[in-house]
Structure formats: C-alpha cells, structure tokens
Amino acid sequence: MAGSQLKQLKAALKEKGLIGQTNTKSKKSKHNKAEVKRDDRQHKIDEVRNEFNKFDTKINRTKHDVSIIQQGKFVKMGSKQHNETSARNGAVLKTMKMQYNLEKGRRGKTGGILDKRFGESDKHLSKEEKMLARFTKERQNASRKRNAFSLESDEEDEDDDEDGFTLTHSGQALSLDDEPSVKYVDEDYSVEDEQEQPARKKSKNEVMKEIIAKSKFYKQQRQKEFAKTQDEIDVLDDEFGDVMDDLRNVQTATPVFSTKSAESIEYDSKVRELTYDRRAVPADRTKTQEELIKEHEDKLKKLEADRLRRMEGFVDSREAEADDLDDEFWAGGSDEDEEQGFAIKEDGGDDSESESEDEHSGRPKTVKTPPVIMPYTHHEFEQEVSQIEPAKQANHINKIIQAYKPNLAQGNKEKMNNFVGILFQHVLHLANHDQEFQHIVEIVKKLAETYNEKLVGTIREEISHIQSRILKHHLRKSDLVFFVVIGYLFSTSDHYHLIVTPCLILMNELLTSIIYSPNTNVQTIGQGIFTVDVLLSYQRFAKRFDPEVVNFIEYAMLQLIPEPKKMTGLDKILSSKTESRFSVSKTEQINTGIISIKQLFKEEGELKSQLLVKLVDIMDKLVSLYKEKSCLIEILDSFIPILKHLVKYFAASIPNLSSTLTKFTKLQSNLVKSRKPLTLQHHRALAMATFAPKFEENFNPDKKSYDVNKERADLNKIKYQIKMEKKAALKDIRQENKFVAREQIAEKKSMYDEYHKKMANIVNSISTIEGAEKNQYEREKKLRKNK
C-alpha cells in the first residue's frame, strides 16, 4: 500500500465498490450491486473506517529498521510476523482449522454417504444392543405415526380409516360418505323398499356404532364370565386343603371305591413318589477308612491354619503400621480396622448338616404346631425346665431345637437366637445352684456357630455384669464358670477376639482386685488361683505373656507359705511384698485332692493346703508354658526362693515339690547360659537428619541433576520427560477443544444470521408484492374514477 491517506482511502472505497465508475459494469452486475448496496453498504463503510483508524491498531515500533530471517523468510523486526508466538499460533490455528473442516465434512459419513443408522458409530453398544435399539426405534416411529391423535378406545381405532381423525362441524361429525339429507337421483328406487322394510337402511355411522356397542357388550360379558370362574377357582383353592385332607382320610378308610388292589395302589403311589424324586445321581464313592481319617485331618489342619492366622493377628499389614494404629487406640480412637483381619470364612458345617438331615427325613407333610413351646425369657425357661427331671432336660432342649429349626417356619431363626442366649444364661444359673450343666454347654457349643451374634451379645452383657460384681468384690460361682465356658466355646488363641479379649481383661482385673481388696481371705485367694489356672489354660496354645498372673502367683504363695519371716531371697521377688496372713501351719496335713468351686465360696476349711499344692502345680504349668519367653529367668528368680522355702516344710507331703524345684533350677541355669543380648533393631540404620545446607562442588545452573547413581538419574530424567510430555499433550487437547467450541459457536451464529436474513428477505418480498398490488389497485381505482 502506498500513497497518502487520502489515496489509500479512495483505493479502498473503490475496491469495495462504493465509489468510482458504475457505468462500466454490465446490467446484471449492476442489479447485483444494487442489492449489495442495500444490505452491506453501511457495513462496508464501517470496515473501511476501522481499517483507516490508526489509533486502534497496535504496532511494535523499532528504532532501527532491521530485517531478520525467520522460518526461511525475511521478516521485519517488530512487525506482526516477527512476533514468534503469534506466528506460531497462527500456523497452529490454520492447521487446526483445516483439520476441523475436514472432520466436519466427514462427520457421520461412511464413504460419501451420510450414515443415519442408529448407533452405528457408538462403540459402547454391542451388536445385540444395537439391533434391539434399532428395532424399538422402528416400532416407536411406526406407532407414533399411527396414533397421533388416537383416544383410548382400541376398537374405534381399528375400524376408523382416518386414524381416529374426524372432521367436525359444531360438534357433529362430518363425513363425505354419509349425508342422509342429500339424495341422489338413482336412490329413488329404494323409496318403496323403504316402505316395505320399516327400518331404513342404516347409515355406516350407525352400523359402526352398533358394532361398537355389541362388541362392548360382549366384552363385558366375557369379563364377567372370567371373573366368575376366577372366583370359583379361588374358592376351590381355599377348600383344596380340606378336600385333600378328606380325601386322604377317605382313601384309607374306604378303599371300596377303588377297584384297584392294595398292591397296585401302593405301586401307583410308589410310582408317583418316584416321579417327584430327584433322578439318581451317581453317589460319591464310599470312602475308605484311611480316606475318612485323612479328610478329618485335613479339616483339622485347615482349622489349625486358621487359628494360627488369627493368632498372628493380621501380621503382614499390621507390622508396617503398627504404631500408627495403636496411637489411635491409645489416644482414644477406636481402631476398628483391627477386626478386619479376623474375618473367618464360614464353612456353614452346621447348616448343611441340618439341611441334609431334613432331606433324609422326607419332606415334612404338614407343619404341626410343635409340642414344645419356645421360651422367651430365661425365667420362663427355668420354670419349664424345673418341672422336668435333670436327666431329661437335655432331651427337652433338643426337642425345642428340633421343633424350631429355622427352615421350618418363618421367625424361627430369631426365636432360636433368643433361645441360645437363654441357654447360656441357664448354664450360669445352674452353676450358681450347684447343678450339672455339662450337657447344656455342649448344646450351646453346637449352636454357637449358627447363632453367633446373639450369643455374643448375651455374653457381652454378662461381662459387664461380672465387672460390676468384681468392683463390689462380690463374686458368684457362675462368674468363675463363665470364664471356663468361654474358654470352651471360643478360640482363646486369637490375637484379638470380641469375647476372649474382654474376658482376659476381666480376669486380670479380678486378680488385681483380689490382691488389693481390703477383705481378702482364703476363699478369694482360692478364686484367684482358679482364675490363674483358667488364664493359663486360655494361653495353652498362643502362650501369651500375662504379668498379672506372675504377680498373683507370687502374692498367693507369700500369703500361704508357713513362717514367711524365715524366708531368704525375698529381694528377688518381682511382686510387692506384703506380710502373709493365711500362712499354712508347719505341721498341717497336706491334702492333695481336687478342689471344687463350691469350696471356694464356703467357709474356711481344709482349703489352704490344697491351694498350696495347686499353686505349685500352676507354677510348673506357667514355667513350661513360658519356656520360650526371654524373661523367664527373672520369673524363675523369684519362684525358686519360694519353692526352696517350701521344700523345708513340705518336701515329703507335696509330691511334686522337690522335683519341680530341681526342674526349675536346672532350667534356670540352662537359660542363663543360653541367653544373649537382644538384637531387635536389625533393620537398616536410620539416616540422621541434618540441618547443614548441602553444597555442590561443581555447580552448574544448566545441570539438572547431581545424582551419582546413573540409573536413578536416568530414571528421573525419563520421569521428568514423561511429565512434560503429559503436560504438553494436555495443553494441546485443551487448545483443540477450545478451538472446536469456538468454531461451533461461530457456525451457529452464522446459521442464525442466515436464517434471519432469509426471513427478512421473505418479509421483504411479501411486502414488495403487497405494495405492488396496492399500487395496482390504486391505479385501477383511479382509472375507474376517471372513467
């Protein structure tokens, strides 16, 4: 572009065809130009004006006119092309636009044809789904066409040709076919016929109405009939049970009606039964004795493995986060996660067994009301059972369990759940009243798997009761039995167990409370010794360490030994030193009988010496249980002086005493020799945190990494590259999306513009025509007037 502003302006205007010679153009083009003029003149002028408004354009001014080579072209410095990013963006935009247009042209097309098949390009649809969707679409289209205005009645729809669409005039249906008022010439013949036939020929409308009415009537009748038969069927159904009962009775009572012999009847019934029987399947081979034994062993092995797993208590994942989890617990949070590790696969042994039993006994014919009644509270049950003699109680309970099997009737499961809780309470009740309860415990054990939750609930309630009794120092016999029963029912070796863990805490609380209670006597010590024994039996497999037990054994021993003043080696005792109050006298006859729980609650008797014997026994048990514990030396350290002291008095009367002592001393000397210092911290040494800043010898700002490890450095490099690539790809995708959105908006805009333009054109043309007509009219009018 050259020349002054004015010249440029002129040139621009001329280029747009706004000024300059017009006569050079042909007529056709002139016509076009006129149209253009009308629409765009203003717009074009605006455009030119904008172009020439130098205040709105941005120019990077350079002091010196320098050209450089950029992308193989000479580009002026500071010019639009020189702006690197804009140039690049422009190129990118160009390619994007090309791509977009290409894709737009190809969209929805296969080959050159626009593919309108439903779901053709949808990758998520399977072939069948596609077919189905197409089919439904087709049907929808068809039906939509047919009943566009149809009302609800079907019959009309079928008959009407007009698809239920009728023309009306002031509410009357219009029809081309029936116009009774209009009579054509050729219809006159029928006038006489009409007189002969009083009913004139019905119009089509009437015929149709009649047909409709008739069909409606028939339909109603059919419905009525149907309802009636339905009612009858219902009544028959209701009576069916009675009738069948009667029939059965009749059949047995009067075989007169039957012409068949008894044998054939039997045969028939057998055949009928057989039809209902399941087809015989080849049965599993009868297993040999060895196989049965092996199977049993395998099952035991599996159970054992399960137990070990539970004992370890989720070892693998716990160790990593052990302290984290625990912190939560000690800080007051409850770590429920812990329980997840102890999910046990239910093998449902009991269920399947009971079911198979049912199958063997045949299908229950009628569910009779059970002869035994399910008790709802322990009180009820107690009353009921008390009327039965003890030997038959187990039988009675079994009967109840049989009668209320969960698969016999709805709600039995809840009842049984309740019943298991009652049974458990009953065991404790019996224990309190010195009655035999072994058989009931066995029953509870059988039921424990199936009705676990309720049983657990009952036991947890009981635990809280016992705790309150411990705090009051008022224990019952049942409480001691309770612990034993728990050990019998549940797996005591688990790392965590919903029942056993609280029981352990409870028993240890009991031990502590016995030591520090103000009114300790021989009985409470006896109870404590019993609890110690139970605790040790709990740990027979897992061998967990229980400090309270050690403490209590020492305490009890110190309480019971004769002449405690003379004892040497007291300084080695682990537990607290208290003066003994119940020391056995030197000359007392030692009784080595079995101690009963009853005795622990009676008045003082021959208990002391028995307890002493028991304690020696328990010491032995404890030491053999904790054989592998590294601090057994310390425990033995305190046990041995006590036994040494005891040997002085009862070496002869307590049978195991001296042998236990020698065993202990031997064991201790062995342990002392073999014990080595701990090496618990066998992990890699932890790096110490340093606060000194790290200096690089050959620092280079361009160098990205100073890693000595070549492999790691490479890895990091690749990682970094991947990261950057990802970032760039994301950026590209975003840019493209934005571009597409912009294009689409522009397209829409242009579409709307086109539409508006078109409408404007139409309106325009109409008004032109109207105007022309008007002019014509005016002209005509004038002409006539002038005439």
Partner: protein, 334 residues
C-alpha cells in the same frame, strides 16, 4: 506448739475466708485438718480490718507449719500432700519452710504412696525456690517398686518422672538403670502399668540413643559366654550396670495377652521413626477403661470358635477310674 499462736493464726484465716473468695480454696484445703474444724466454727466473727498480704502470708505459713507438725493420720497426711503444691505453696511467703516436711515425707520408706505424693510439692520447690535435694535421682529410683504400677497415683508419678528424666544431659548409666528397672517391673505389672511403661521407655530411648544398646547389642550377642550384669538390688542408679544388660522383658511383652499392648510393644523391634509418644494418651488407663473400649466394638464377623474338643469342662469329683476324657480345666471340679 502454743495454742495462742494457733488461735491468732486461725483468726487471720477466718478473716480471709470471710473477706475474700480468693482464699476459699485454701480454707477447703484446711478443713480436712483435725481440731481446726471446731475452732473455726467458734471463730467466725466479723473482723473488718484489712490485713496486709505479707502478714497474711507469714501468718499463714506459721499456721501451716504448726499444723503440719501435729501428729497427722496417714489419710490426712496424704490429703495434705495431695493439695500442697497447688493450694498451699503459692500462698506462702517462704515455702522453703516446708522443705523439712517434704524431705521427711519423701524419705518415708514403708509407704509407697507418700513419697510419690510429696514429689509434686518437692518439684514445685525445686523449680521456684532453688531447692537442692541431694541424691534426688537415687531416691527417685528407689520409688520404682512393684506397688507403684498398681497405685492410683501412678499417672501422677510418671508425669513428673517424665519431667525429671527429660534432660538429655543425664548420664547414660542413670537412664539405663531407670529403663531396666521399669522393664523389670513390667514383668509383674498390671496392664495399665504396662501401657505406661512401654511408651515411657520408648521416649527415654529416643532421648538417650546411647541406651539403644540395651535393645540392640550384636557384638555381645555374637561372643560366647555372656552374663547379665544388671544388679536389681543396687540402690544407686549409677552403679546398677544396667547399660550392659538387655531388655528381655520388653521382648516378652511383645506377646502380652492384650492385643493392643502387644502391638505397642512391637515398636521396639521396628525402626524408631516416631519422634516421641505423647504420654498423656497412655497415663490414665485402667482395667475399666480398657474394658469399656472393648465393649464399644461392633460385632462384625463370626466370633471365632474353639475347634478343639473337650469332653468335660471340669474334672469329676471322684477320680476313681481312669478315664480318657479330655478335660479343659484339670484339677478343679464344680
């Protein structure tokens, strides 16, 4: 000593109780004291004169010291010690006067609780009034008795003990002795005591890494004959040679019957990544709270059942004939 002085001091005290609520707490503290109760009743009169604080304090101090010189019942003794550091010492002009009383009670040998209670006030005096207590750590070490872990005041003791041992400038011998002694106590301690001991030892080990040799001593472990050098009966913590010993007790605690304690003890077998345990989380556990946290657990899965079969729960009373029955609890009968 003299009833006259006693009465005048009471006089002042009444004044305080009436004039200012500020001192009401002390009055409550003093009400536990024998004899004083009746006399207070008679001396409630109006004494409007506003006495000076310093005189109050001196009078108060005299009063306190005379009261403390009375023959006190053990329960009263403990009650006074319990409130001494909070309610009495701050209001005295020269709390140093209490020193004799406190050191005496700290040295009480036959009751384990009294020294523990005295410790608090003693610390108060040491902190604010530069009290020098000779062989303080020896005495502190001697407080570590088996009863300690069963007393109600164990949390109080360990809170202070944590404070006393918080210095990193203590000798390793001393700290090792404390660690070893506590570990030894844990062999016969209650569950709640063990809960305190484990993080306590962890914190000590973390603070004194030289003591880590008690957990990890590979050189000694390799060499042949090794004898545990720890002397449990040595009174002086500097001479117990605990540093040469190992904490087998803690290894045993890793199999504690309480699952959470067992896992807590397992930290000693793991890298010491945790900076320190917050002792407050561990101090106030009891059997009741342990049980409570168990009872709030939800029933999730089948409670595992024992698969071992036992024929009997208890032995039969008359074991005349030899039976092959497996008995869960031998040697006991119903």
């Amino acid at each position: 000593e003299s009833l006259e002085q006693w009465k005048t001091s009471k006089d002042e005290q009444q004044l305080r109780t009436i004039v200012a609520n500020f001192y009401s707490l002390i009055r409550h503290g003093l009400l536990y004291v024998e004899e004083g109760i009746e006399e207070q009743q008679t001396w409630i009169g109006k004494l409007p004169s506003v006495a000076y604080k310093t005189t109050f304090k001196t009078q108060y101090q005299k009063c306190i010291i005379t009261i403390l010189s009375y023959p006190l019942l053990p329960s009263q003794y403990k009650a006074i010690l319990l409130i001494l550091h909070k309610r009495i010492i701050p209001y005295m002009s020269q709390p140093q006067g209490l020193m004799d009383f406190l050191t005496d009670s700290y040295d009480v040998g036959d009751d384990a609780i009294v020294p523990i209670l005295a410790l608090n006030s003693l610390y108060e005096l040491m902190k604010k009034y530069n009290l020098e207590y000779p062989d303080f750590y020896t005495k502190l070490y001697s407080l570590l008795t088996p009863e300690l872990l069963y007393t109600r005041y164990r949390s109080r003791f360990f809170r202070l003990c944590d404070l006393f041992l918080s210095s990193t400038h203590l000798s390793a011998n001393l700290v090792a002795s404390f660690i070893k002694k506590l570990a030894r106590l844990s062999v016969a301690a209650s569950a709640s005591g063990v809960v305190i001991i484990i993080p306590f030892i962890y914190n000590l080990l973390k603070r004194h890494p030289t003591c880590m040799i008690m957990l990890h001593n590979p050189d000694k472990a390799k060499s042949g004959d090794y004898v545990d050098p720890f002397d449990n009966n040595e009174k002086n913590p500097m001479n117990t040679r605990a540093i040469g010993s190992s904490l087998w007790e803690l290894e045993t605690l890793m199999t504690h019957y309480h699952p959470n304690i067992a896992t807590l003890a397992k930290i000693f077998g793991e890298p010491f990544r945790k900076h320190s345990y917050n002792m407050e989380d561990f101090l106030d556990w009891s059997y009741i709270s342990l049980l409570e946290s168990e009872s709030t657990r939800r029933y999730k899965t089948l409670a595992a059942l024992e698969f071992e079969e036992f024929d009997m729960l208890f032995d039969e009373a008359d074991k005349s004939e030899e039976t092959n029955k497996r008995v869960l609890l031998e040697g006991w009968t119903v």
